[in-house]
C-alpha cells in the first residue's frame, strides 16, 4: 500500500515535469501549428542559465533568481527563432518541424562549444535537500518544488488567458486566426508573444530540471519526444488536455515501471498512446471547428 502511494506520488512528479515542458509546446503547437523541435534546446538554455547564475548569486538564492531570468532568455531565443525562421513558414508545419530540428542541432553544438561537452552541475539549495514523509510516502522537496512550479505556471496562464486582454486575443487567434485578424487583432504580434511565453516556459522547465539531473547539451532531447506525446494526447492548444495527459502518462509510466522495468514502461506507454489515438485521434479535447481538414 505504501509503495502504491509512493508510486502515485512519483507518477505525479513525472507528470509535473512533463507538463512543465509540454505547456509551452501546447501554446506554440496549438496556436500556430508550429512544431518546435528546438523547444528542447530552450530547456537546455534555461538549465545553463541556472548554471551560470549560481556563480554570482550563491547556492541559496540563485535558483529563484534563475527562474525569471531563464524565462526571459529562453523567451528571447524563441522570439528570435520566430522572427527569423518560423514566421516565414506558417502553414508548413512539417517544414517547421524539420527546420527547428536543424536549429536544435546547431544550438546543441553551440552549447558544447560554449560550456564544454561535459555535463555540469547546478547545486541544490539547502532548502531543497531532503524531503517530507507523509503517510508512508517519501516526498523529496525537489519534486514538490517542480509540482509547485507547474501549479504556479498553470495558474498564471489561466489568469493571463482569462482576464488579460493580451491573453484573450491569444485565445481568439487560437480559435480562429482569420476571424481574429478581421476583427483587428494584430495576429503577428500575438504570435510573437505566444512564442515568447511558450519558449519562456521551456526555460523555466530547464531550471527545474537541474534539480533532477545534470545539465548537458542533450538535456532537452531526452524529454522532447515525451512532451510532444503529451501535447498530441491532450489535444492541440488544450491546457486542460495537457494537464490530464501529462499526469496520466506520468502515473502510467510509474506504475508500469514498478511492476516491470523502465524500458518496458516506455514501450507500454507508447502502445497505450497509439491505442488512445485510435479512439480519439484529435486528442482528449478538441477545439470545436467546422473546418474541413
Amino acid at each position: 500500500m505504501g509503495s502504491l502511494l509512493t508510486q502515485a506520488f512519483t507518477g505525479l512528479g513525472i507528470g509535473a515535469t512533463l507538463l512543465l515542458i509540454a505547456l509551452g509546446l501546447t501554446f506554440t503547437f496549438g496556436q500556430m501549428n508550429v512544431i518546435n523541435m528546438a523547444h528542447g534546446e530552450f530547456i537546455m538554455a534555461g538549465a545553463y542559465t541556472a548554471y551560470m547564475l549560481q556563480g554570482s548569486f550563491g547556492r541559496e538564492t540563485s535558483l529563484l533568481v534563475s527562474l525569471p531570468v531563464a524565462f526571459v532568455i529562453a523567451g528571447a531565443l524563441g522570439v528570435a527563432l520566430e522572427t527569423v525562421l518560423i514566421r516565414r513558414m506558417y502553414g508548413r508545419p512539417l517544414d517547421t518541424l524539420l527546420v527547428t530540428w536543424g536549429v536544435s542541432l546547431m544550438l546543441q553544438q553551440l552549447a558544447r562549444d560554449l560550456f564544454g561537452a561535459a555535463n555540469v552541475q547546478v547545486l541544490t539549495p539547502s532548502w531543497l535537500v531532503g524531503g517530507v514523509h507523509v503517510a508512508g510516502v517519501d516526498m523529496p522537496y525537489a519534486r514538490l518544488f517542480i509540482m509547485a512550479l507547474v501549479a504556479a505556471a498553470v495558474a498564471g496562464i489561466w489568469v493571463y488567458m482569462t482576464y488579460l486582454p493580451q491573453g484573450r486575443r491569444m485565445r481568439a487567434v487560437m480559435q480562429n486566426r482569420q476571424l481574429a485578424a478581421c476583427s483587428g487583432i494584430p495576429t503577428a504580434r500575438v504570435d510573437r508573444r505566444t512564442f515568447f511565453i511558450g519558449s519562456g516556459l521551456a526555460g523555466v522547465a530547464g531550471v527545474a530540471l537541474t534539480q533532477l539531473g545534470s545539465v548537458g547539451p542533450t538535456l532537452g532531447t531526452n524529454y522532447i519526444v515525451d512532451a510532444f506525446l503529451v501535447v498530441v494526447v491532450g489535444g492541440l492548444g488544450q491546457i486542460r488536455g495537457a494537464i490530464i495527459a501529462a499526469i496520466a502518462l506520468g502515473v502510467l509510466d510509474a506504475y508500469v515501471e514498478w511492476g516491470t522495468s523502465a524500458s518496458f514502461a516506455k514501450v507500454v506507454v507508447f502502445v497505450a498512446i497509439v491505442a488512445f489515438l485510435q479512439a480519439r485521434p484529435q486528442g482528449l479535447f478538441v477545439l470545436k471547428t467546422r473546418a474541413l481538414t
Binding site: 525562421l85 516565414r88 512539417l94 518541424l97 536543424g102 546547431m106 498530441v232 524500458s263 514501450v267 497509439v274
Partner: protein, 375 residues
C-alpha cells in the same frame, strides 16, 4: 502542366531512358573502375541510403506523409538479414554468440524461421511492409496525419530502439548484430565479394527508382498526389484515401527494409544506433536536401549528404554538426525544392535570360504552383 515526379504527357520518353542509361553506366562501370576497395564499400553504403531516400521521397514528397520513424523499417530489414547471417555463422543447432553471453541457451521462437533463407530473404521486405501497413491502416483510418503522424512515427522509433536494447538476449542489445564473417558462403572481407554487393545494391537502387517512377506515372500516382494536396476532396470523389496512403507508406517501408538488408553484409553491423530518432531524421534530411518533389532528388541528396558527412565530419567533428543544421535550415526554410529544385530554378532562370518563350513569368508562377510543397 507537370505533376511533380509524375511524368508529363507530351514528353519524349527516350530522354529519360537515355539519361537513366547514362547514370546506370556511371554506377556500373565508372564507379567500380575508379574507386578503391574502401571507397567502393563506402559508396555502396551511400547507395543503401539512397534506396531509403527513394522510399521517403515517395511517401513524403509524393504522398505528404512525413515519417520520422523510417529507421524502424530500415532496422526491421537489417535485423531480418542479420539474424539469418548470424544463424548461418553459428551453425545448425547452435545459438548466436551474444545469446550465450546473455544467458539464452535455446534458440528463441522468433529466431527459428530465420534459419532458412527462403523465409529470411522475403522477410526483409515483407516484415517492414506489414508493420507499416498495420500502423498505417490504424492511424490513417482515424485520419491522424501531418504533424501528428510525424510525432507518432518518431515515438515509434524511440519505442523500437528501447525494445531492441531492452531485449538483449534476443536482439543483441546496444551492440546490435555484428561479427558476420560471411554471407551466403562468401567471405565478406574479400574485395571481390564486396564488389558484387556493390553491383547488387546499385541494381536494387535502379529497380526501386524505376518502380517509384512507374508508380507515379500510373493512375495510382496521380491519386497519391491528389490525396496529399486534398485528402477530403479525394474522399468525396469516392476513393478511399486510407488505402492509397497505406500503399505508399508500406512501399516506402519495404524499400527501407531492403536497404537495411543490403546494408548488413556491406557494413557488417546493424545496431539500434543506426535506427533511432536521430538517424531517422537524418534519413529525411537526405530527401529534403536533394529535393522531395522529384524522384531523382532523394538519390542525389543521399549521395551528396553522405559524402559530405564522411569527408567533413572527420576533419571538423564539430563543424559538421553546424553545417548539417545550417543546411537543414537553409534548404527547408528557403529552398524547399532542394538541390533538384535549384537545378530546375536555374534552368528556368536561364531560359528567361535567353528569352525562351517556354518560360514566361506566368509559366514560372504556374510551375511553382504545381510543385507546391506538401504541408
Amino acid at each position: 502542366m507537370k505533376m511533380p515526379g509524375a511524368s508529363g504527357g507530351a514528353r519524349n520518353p527516350w530522354y529519360g531512358r537515355i539519361g537513366f542509361a547514362l547514370v546506370a553506366l556511371g554506377f556500373l562501370v565508372l564507379a567500380p573502375a575508379t574507386l578503391s576497395d574502401f571507397g567502393l564499400n563506402l559508396f555502396t553504403k551511400y547507395l543503401c541510403y539512397a534506396i531509403i531516400a527513394v522510399g521517403i521521397g515517395l511517401a513524403w514528397g509524393q504522398g505528404g506523409m512525413l515519417s520520422l520513424g523510417q529507421g524502424v523499417f530500415f532496422g526491421l530489414g537489417g535485423y531480418a538479414m542479420g539474424m539469418y547471417l548470424k544463424l548461418q555463422a553459428a551453425g545448425p543447432g547452435k545459438v548466436p554468440d551474444f545469446m550465450s553471453w546473455s544467458g539464452v541457451e535455446k534458440l528463441p521462437l522468433l529466431w527459428k524461421p530465420f534459419q532458412y533463407a527462403w523465409i529470411a530473404l522475403p522477410a526483409v521486405v515483407v516484415v517492414p511492409m506489414a508493420v507499416a501497413a498495420g500502423l498505417g491502416a490504424m492511424v490513417f483510418r482515424r485520419r491522424v496525419r501531418g504533424a501528428y503522424f510525424a510525432i507518432l512515427t518518431q515515438a515509434l522509433a524511440a519505442a523500437f530502439v528501447i525494445l531492441l536494447i531492452g531485449e538483449q538476449g534476443y536482439t543483441g542489445g546496444t551492440n546490435g548484430l555484428t561479427n558476420f564473417s560471411q554471407a551466403f558462403g562468401l567471405d565478406l572481407a574479400d574485395p571481390t565479394n564486396q564488389r558484387m554487393f556493390y553491383f547488387i545494391t546499385a541494381g536494387v537502387l535502379g529497380a526501386m527508382f524505376l518502380l517509384a517512377r512507374q508508380l507515379m506515372a500510373s493512375r495510382y500516382g496521380r491519386l497519391l498526389v491528389a490525396v496529399r494536396d486534398g485528402e477530403e476532396r479525394v474522399r468525396f470523389l469516392g476513393y478511399n484515401p486510407t488505402v492509397i496512403k497505406v500503399i505508399a507508406f508500406s512501399i516506402s517501408a519495404g524499400m527501407a527494409g531492403l536497404a537495411g538488408a543490403l546494408f548488413v553484409p556491406v557494413v557488417g553491423i546493424i545496431s539500434p544506433a543506426l535506427l533511432g530518432i536521430v538517424p531517422s531524421i537524418e534519413m529525411v534530411i537526405l530527401v529534403a536536401l536533394g529535393g522531395r518533389s522529384s524522384l531523382v532528388g532523394p538519390v542525389i541528396g543521399a549521395l551528396a549528404v553522405n559524402y559530405a558527412k564522411t569527408s567533413l565530419s572527420n576533419r571538423f567533428p564539430s563543424g559538421w554538426l553546424y553545417l548539417e543544421g545550417l543546411l537543414f535550415v537553409v534548404v527547408i526554410g528557403f529552398a524547399p525544392m532542394g538541390l533538384a529544385g535549384l537545378v530546375g530554378y536555374g534552368r528556368s532562370a536561364l531560359d528567361r535570360l535567353r528569352g525562351s518563350p517556354g518560360a514566361s513569368p506566368a509559366d514560372e508562377a504556374k510551375r511553382l504552383e504545381d510543385e507546391v510543397v506538401p504541408a
